[in-house]
């Protein structure tokens, strides 16, 4: 009886450890805070240390702290390279209706645009283009893939 109980407890402890370590590894490799992507798998760079994209939570167009940091870097780079014009491409994940996602992509790209403008980038250097859910970077059907696809990408236009 007693042995049985000890065994059972040990089993539970081991199980808990496994579960915790699983969580820990997931946090380390990757990649999501809440449901916002924080990894760098798909990120490209406009210049050294200047990431080209920011990520959003499901159905949201609010910029996260990390996104604002990225956009401040982009703004600094754009101020230094004053001839460069850009297109902000807004995207949504596949878990929404097509037309709403087109509007959502536009809204996301515009929140990036507004932030760049508050850091001194003129609106006539920025155009906005929404792709809705038409151009995912990750073709997976899972929360991590969707988080990579909810994004606004800053693309050099000239």
């Amino acid at each position: 009886m007693k042995l049985n109980k000890i065994l059972k407890n040990t089993f539970l402890v081991v199980l808990a450890c496994l579960a915790l370590s699983a969580c820990a590894t997931q946090k380390k490799t990757g990649q999501m805070q809440g449901d916002v992507y924080t990894g760098s798998d798909t990120v490209e760079y406009l210049a050294s240390g200047v990431p080209d994209r920011v990520f959003f939570a499901t159905n949201e167009s609010v910029l996260t702290t990390a996104s604002r940091e990225t956009l401040r870097k982009q703004a600094a780079w754009l101020r230094k390279n004053s001839k460069v014009t850009i297109v902000l491409e807004g995207h949504a994940d596949e878990r929404g209706t097509r037309e709403y996602n087109l509007a959502l992509g536009e809204r996301r790209a515009n929140s990036a645009k507004d932030y760049l403008m508050t850091y001194g980038i003129s609106s006539n250097r920025i155009s906005v283009l929404s792709y809705g859910k038409e151009r995912p970077v990750d073709s997976g059907s899972n929360p991590l893939a969707w988080s990579k696809n909810r994004r606004s990408v800053t693309v050099k236009a000239n």
Partner: protein, 446 residues
């Protein structure tokens, strides 16, 4: 091509006919009506002529096969195997031996013949009530031979109308977006086909992204979204001439277009500075009107068939919901209150229902509700599906469905499906490639 289509009624509906066979289309039909479709008879001279023109050796049999297939996919009829038919097609068309047909359990019988006269195709057909032993419908019409498939669809429409009491939806076309290539670099083309999948034709080459084509309910015009030169704009396309033009002069993305019921206006969304509102443009005088004015996303507008109301999708409550307003933008009222998100509202051509896509707990549903939001009914559930479009008689919905990919991101597909308003008779609609964003035309002949 469609203008030279004449219909001559040689025999009107017998005035004193009372329907002995009747098909109830308001419920799921678990006992489809057994119907015998006798091949249309054809004389040897006509057969040879059609073979020369159409490269088709027996259009009599092929037209009846079209009728059979239509009746079967409607889910309301059960076409019987021709091997069991005892009477020859030409004799049956003159005077069916009803005992023979009731022996194989047929309740309705369709007979007819085709002729080649003055370079035209002339068809006559009859619908017989086998149990009552009488003719209940007889029609003849003439058309150009190349329209031979449409002859099958028109026969089906007339039979469907006679037996159900409602207009058919078979002499119609579907415009949709044909898809190919990997999910991250999808190539999309406008395509059009007959309702049964025949005569598929691509209307664009796939050089630019195209989305959401919709028919004008009164003509062969289509409105759609194109990313031509990377500027997402609403376009008009005349599918007879291939002429295209951009709709209006908006300084930003226009999308989610539909025609008004009289075909004279386009209603659509215009997105600027992170806000999408609904606009209309009159196609005659080019006058643009702003219909909604709200800092939220307002999109997917669809008119009621009388043109007095508009249903649309808005997230002004914080999440996507369905709203109805007067067509001038006043009296906005939210109508969807169930749990989950609601999108793509589209008003039934009968006026009484709004079809929609619902997203709830990671599943997508196609459903219908009354125009005040009551009586919500979900017809089908899946991993991903959206964008219902009504058949012109308001009895069937066509929509598209996408599959979940595996861990490697493989296995993606997009297909068209149809389902009856009753929630029964869910069917894959065959297309040569992957497909999405279907829109159903009105009846081509009326």
């Amino acid at each position: 091509m469609f203008r030279i289509f004449f219909i001559f009624f040689i025999l009107v509906f017998p005035l004193n006919s009372w329907a002995l066979i009747e098909v109830d289309i308001t419920r799921g039909n678990l006992n489809p009506l057994p119907v015998a479709v006798s091949p249309l008879s054809i004389d040897e001279n006509s057969r040879k002529n059609f073979e020369k023109i159409l490269n088709n050796s027996d259009i009599g049999s092929e037209i009846s096969a079209i009728v059979e297939n239509n009746l079967k996919t409607s889910g309301l009829f059960n076409p019987l195997n021709k091997d069991a038919f005892l009477q020859a097609p030409d004799i049956a068309n003159l005077k069916p031996r009803f005992e023979d047909w009731s022996l194989i359990k047929a309740q309705a019988l369709i007979t007819g013949k085709v002729n080649f006269i003055d370079k035209k195709l002339r068809v006559e057909f009859r619908l017989w009530d086998v149990l009552a032993g009488k003719e209940i419908l007889a029609l003849a019409f003439t058309t150009v031979p190349t329209n031979w498939r449409r002859v099958g669809h028109i026969i089906t429409d007339k039979v469907y109308e006679r037996l159900t009491g409602e207009k058919g939806y078979f002499d119609t076309r579907i415009i949709y977006v044909a898809e190919e290539g990997p999910k991250t670099k999808r190539i999309k083309k406008l395509a059009i086909m007959d309702q049964d999948g025949a005569n598929n034709k691509f209307l664009t080459l796939g050089n630019e992204l195209v989305l959401t084509p919709r028919f004008n309910p009164t003509s062969q015009m289509v409105t759609y979204l194109s990313y031509f030169r990377n500027l997402p704009r609403v376009y008009l396309l005349d599918i007879e001439t291939g002429m295209q033009e951009v709709v209006g002069d908006f300084p930003g993305m226009t999308f989610a277009p539909r025609f008004s019921p009289n075909g004279k206006k386009i209603i659509m969304s215009f997105a600027k500075d992170g806000n999408s509102d609904i606009y209309t443009m009159d196609l005659e005088n080019r006058i643009v009107e702003k219909i909604t004015n709200h800092p939220s996303i307002d999109t997917s507008p669809s008119y009621s068939p009388d043109g007095k109301y508009i249903c649309f999708n808005s997230d002004r409550s914080g999440y996507q919901q369905i709203y109805v307003m007067k067509s001038d933008g006043t009296s906005v009222k939210r109508i969807s209150f169930g749990t989950g998100l609601y999108g793509t509202p589209v008003w039934s051509p009968r006026g009484d229902l709004i079809a929609f896509t619902k997203l709830h707990k990671g599943k997508f549903y196609i459903g219908v509700m009354r125009t005040d939001g009551s009586g919500e009914r979900l017809l089908t559930e899946n991993f991903y599906q959206e964008a219902p479009s009504w058949s012109p008689n308001g009895r069937v919905l066509i929509f598209y469905r996408e599959t979940k990919t595996n861990d490697k991101g493989e296995g993606f597909s997009a297909k068209l499906w149809s389902i009856d308003l009753t929630g029964y008779n869910e069917r894959l609609v065959n297309t040569p490639s992957d497909a999405s964003d279907p829109s159903w035309s009105s009846l081509l002949s009326n």
